[in-house]
């Protein structure tokens, strides 16, 4: 059942690199990551790949396959026509470390700028009461496996490196939305989202949503509602408080 496929893989480091050709066996049911592992085991031991779970759960194996940002462990070989070469390159938005591995510290640095969850004072562990329908919205965003494909794809940083200082990207802003919709979070996050994390750089093109392997509706469910909150309530703390109380309706 196996066949020989040709692969073009970007090899190199910070300095420079180029596409290198490989011919490699492919078997029934395999994903891109299997094939790269075969090259690593049989042809070039030092081929740099980042991976962990091989099950789409850890978000380590992000790369670009024929130019499209994907998880290599969830990309089946049978979606590509046999015989046509497959090109694998590192995420374009982040600096390359080696081969297919990029330096993603930008995402961790930005995440550190989001103020932590702050429950109401005096509420003791074990006393939390929340309704399923009220946690469901934030739960959708907590499915995020931090693959950073959305961060890599968003044109606001992909095409404008200089925006990186002022724009935290969809993953990080979605985290803000998640906390904002958490029934028991007490922080007013709107000003910070706008002024520090650069929410206004997002012009809702939805490219981030399209590449999310967890199928999270990043733009529709997180970014747009967050923008609405920021605009509507920008200078009106009373309305903000009202909106939190609405969210907390199931709370005792």
């Amino acid at each position: 059942m196996g066949y020989q496929a040709s692969f073009r893989i970007w090899r190199g480091d910070k300095g420079d690199g180029s596409l290198k050709d490989y011919t490699v066996e492919v078997n029934d049911g395999e994903v891109i990551l299997d094939v790269l592992h075969r090259i690593q085991a049989e042809q070039e031991n030092d081929l740099a790949i980042r991976w962990n779970c091989k099950a789409g759960k850890c978000g380590s194996c992000s790369a670009e396959v024929n130019g499209k940002p994907r998880l290599m462990c969830l990309t089946r070989m049978n979606i590509f026509p046999e015989g046509e070469p497959i090109t694998v390159t590192p995420l374009r938005t982040f600096p390359v470390i080696r081969d297919l591995v990029t330096d993603v510290h930008f995402n961790y640095d930005k995440a550190r700028e989001v103020p932590a969850f702050q429950p109401p004072e005096g509420l003791k562990p074990g006393e939390y009461r929340m309704q399923q329908e009220d946690v469901a919205r934030s739960q959708e965003f907590r499915k995020c496996i931090e693959c950073f494909l959305c961060q890599n794809t968003c044109h606001a940083i992909r095409d404008h490196e200089d925006n990186m200082a002022n724009f935290a990207g969809p993953r990080v802003l979605m985290r803000v939305a998640e906390l904002d919709m958490h029934p028991l979070d007490t922080v007013d996050r709107r000003k910070q989202a706008q002024d520090v994390l650069g929410l206004s750089y997002c012009n809702i093109t939805k490219c981030c949503t399209e590449v999310c392997p967890e199928h999270i509706k990043i733009t529709d469910n997180a970014l747009i509602p967050l923008k609405e909150r920021v605009v509507d309530d920008k200078y009106d703390p009373v309305r903000w408080l009202g909106s939190k109380i609405r969210v907390r309706k199931g709370d005792e």
């Binding site: 480091d13 078997n27 029934d28 049911g29 395999e30 994903v31 299997d34 690593q40 085991a41 049989e42 070039e44 031991n45 030092d46 081929l47 740099a48 790949i49 980042r50 962990n52 779970c53 091989k54 099950a55 789409g56 759960k57 850890c58 380590s60 969830l74 089946r76 470390i97 080696r98 081969d99 591995v101 330096d103 961790y108 550190r112 103020p115 932590a116 969850f117 429950p119 509420l123 003791k124 562990p125 074990g126 939390y128 009461r129 929340m130 309704q131 399923q132 946690v135 934030s138 739960q139 907590r142 499915k143 496996i145 931090e146 906390l179 958490h182 979070d185 199931g250 709370d251 005792e252």
Partner: protein
């Protein structure tokens, strides 16, 4: 060698999974400066893969639950080989640890009255697993990751530096733990690691080290475990004078994917069965009814009708045998397949499609649905899955003090999580790992901090002798200088075949002797490994450094398995098929003496009369010798 970075911390945690992060939080909150080391990126440790849930007797769904029931279930699951005091602490403290996660931002699925929902799982008497769909591990690791960020934000406010008191060294692999001093002053003083991205070395001098490095499953061909699971922590502990116990007990999860070959071993969560999925063979028979062992006869349904009633009326019916502990289910599947009643690709069928409506399946088991549609072209809402056993978890681990998690025999070393041994005895119940990570991660962090603080107050400062550092670096760089040599991937492949075929689910003496011989040969071959390329992000080199550890730990597994002449939990011998009460009193303890492996019998800590009284004497006598049962009943009288 000039390219070495030097740091000093009070506590170094090896591992950024649930156990390591919880330990780091505890150490930092006790005022110690803390470093966290991880082979992978922050938030991607193995814990992220856990699916089903965290076991904790919060009694949110069935009010009959309490720590005592959880304790008894854990002991039964482990066939009474558990270190009872750990099982007791675990059952008592798990609920607080789960609630604490909620106060750090975790969002578990809810009950109707707004509490944390709990689901059924194998071996647990009541619905006990706090969960988020089937991605509980992700929720747990993200929450701990975000808690660490919260602590860093606090430190930034105070000192201007996020990393002044807690720093995560991501993609930085530890290769060595250093010791210093003689006699009573012989203790841990530092670790050597290398940055995977650059290949540069890092020396951290420290007062205490916590190993929370996870498991060993990558030594087996069919496994649910990732490349990280090479038993590093187990080997590091042995090498600095620690000991391992129970290494013969390896858990084969009954339900891994079997097809296509590229995903063979990938886990199918037990929640599929907890939520109603049934196992059938090629004759369409629910074969688990044929395999209920004597010790569990009173607790499991004997007819399909009763089993089905249990899902809606658990108080008046016994549970379905699909929910027997994992070792039982794995062995049964193995037997069915060997008897020729397997599925087309060598597994059995697991079906929820006929048991639950499609939308319920997608809501309760979203990542399973996703996994099967994307990777196997199977829609689990319409057709059965094919599943078979996969190497999943190691019950064995570093021998520790039951209260403090201090490693036996090494001052300044502490251990928690899958890397530590004792809690689970011969078989772990599902959900008991995530709770283990929290309960004992926290304890390891607290006691390591207490130790480091006391030591620092004596004026002791950590200092690693330069000659040892140079030797450790030279060892690590050897694969680059070899003129020619073996491909590390080829050796790892052979090891996986050896362990899978000869030290797998069902074992016998001849095969294990053969395995030991093969491991010895592979060890020899690792002496001349060669890696191409440079030091920057070079996986071939990384594997060359992991392999010796993997081989040492595999040897511990095979030696202990050869010595234990009985079948119990995650250790089945076809030449000794019975459970033997004499063996229940014994742990096998591995240590290195002058560089060679020694395996000793060591008496198991004795169950207290108070805890023994939670079981009736008839049940105890299924596991214990009559003399033991008599002694216990005298003491409690």
């Amino acid at each position: 060698m000039s390219d070495i970075q030097r740091y000093k911390f009070d506590v170094v945690v090896i591992g950024a999974g649930g156990a390591g992060l919880r330990a780091a939080i505890a150490a930092r909150e006790s005022g110690m400066s803390t470093a966290v080391m991880s082979k992978s990126l922050f938030g991607k440790a193995h814990t992220v893969m856990a699916e089903g849930g965290i076991a904790a007797s919060m009694a949110n769904v069935n009010s009959n639950d309490n720590w005592k029931v959880h304790f008894c279930d854990t002991m039964r699951g482990g066939k009474f080989l558990n270190h009872y005091r750990m099982a007791e602490l675990h059952a008592k403290e798990a609920p607080e640890r789960v609630w604490e996660l909620e106060s750090w931002g975790a969002l578990f699925d809810r009950t109707k009255d707004g509490r944390i929902s709990q689901r059924n799982f194998g071996g647990h008497e009541y619905p006990r697993l706090a969960h988020v769909g089937d991605r509980t591990g992700l929720e747990m690791i993200r929450t701990l990751q975000q808690k660490i960020v919260a602590l860093q934000q606090e430190d930034k406010r105070l000192s201007g530096d996020y990393e002044s008191r807690i720093r995560v060294f991501a993609e930085c692999t530890v290769t060595k733990i250093f010791m210093t001093g003689e006699g009573d002053d012989h203790r841990v003083c530092g670790v050597l690691a290398y940055w995977r991205p650059s290949g540069e070395f890092v020396l951290i001098e420290t007062s205490a080290v916590i190993i929370a490095s996870g498991g060993i499953g990558k030594s087996f061909k069919v496994t649910s475990n990732s490349w990280e699971y090479t038993g590093d922590g187990h080997a590091l502990a042995l090498e600095c004078g620690g000991s391992l116990i129970n290494m013969e007990f390896v858990q084969f999860h009954p339900t891994g994917m079997v097809w296509p070959p590229s995903v063979r071993g990938l886990l199918v969560t037990e929640s599929v069965r907890g939520d109603g999925g049934v196992l059938t063979n090629s004759d369409g028979r629910r074969f688990m009814f044929d395999y209920i062992p004597d010790v569990f006869k009173d607790k499991y349904a004997t007819t399909e009708e009763e089993a089905d009633r249990w899902y809606t009326d658990p108080d008046n019916n016994r549970r379905p045998p699909e929910l027997l502990p994992r070792d039982e289910v794995s062995r049964s599947i193995n037997t069915e397949v060997k008897a020729g009643r397997g599925s087309p690709h060598g597994g059995v069928f697991l079906d929820v499609s006929k048991r639950l409506p499609a939308d319920v399946i997608r809501a309760k088991l979203p990542s399973m649905w996703h996994q099967f549609t994307e990777l196997a072209d199977v829609d689990i809402t319409e057709e059965p899955m094919e599943v078979g056993p996969t190497c999943h978890y190691v019950m064995g681990g570093i021998e520790v003090d039951q209260d403090t998690q201090a490693a036996v025999g090494v001052r300044g070393l502490f251990c928690a999580g899958e890397a530590a041994g004792g809690l689970h005895g011969s078989n772990r119940l599902g959900g008991n790992s995530l709770s283990d990570l929290l309960v004992f991660g926290r304890r390891a962090g607290l006691y390591a901090a207490e130790y480091a603080d006391a030591l620092n107050k004596t004026g002791w400062t950590s200092s690693v002798d330069q000659a040892s550092v140079d030797a450790a670096m030279a060892w690590a760089l050897a694969p680059f200088t070899a003129e020619r040599g073996e491909n590390p991937y080829a050796i790892q492949n052979e090891l996986q075949d050896v362990m899978n075929d000869l030290v797998g689910i069902v074992r016998n003496a001849d095969e294990m002797r053969l395995a030991l011989k093969r491991i010895e040969e592979l060890k020899e071959r690792t002496r001349t490994m060669k890696t191409g390329g440079g030091r920057s992000y070079n996986p071939g080199w990384h594997l060359a450094l992991d392999l010796p550890k993997q081989l040492l730990v595999s040897q511990c597994i095979a030696e202990s398995a050869l010595m234990r002449e009985e079948s119990r939990g995650g250790h089945t011998r076809d030449d000794f098929p019975q459970m033997d009460p004499e063996w229940r009193k014994v742990n096998l303890q591995c240590s290195l003496i002058d560089g060679s492996l020694s395996v000793q019998r060591k008496p198991l800590p004795e169950l207290t009369a108070e805890l023994a009284a939670l079981f009736d004497a008839k049940e105890l006598s299924k596991y214990m010798t009559q003399a033991e049962v008599d002694a216990l009943s005298q003491r409690s009288a």
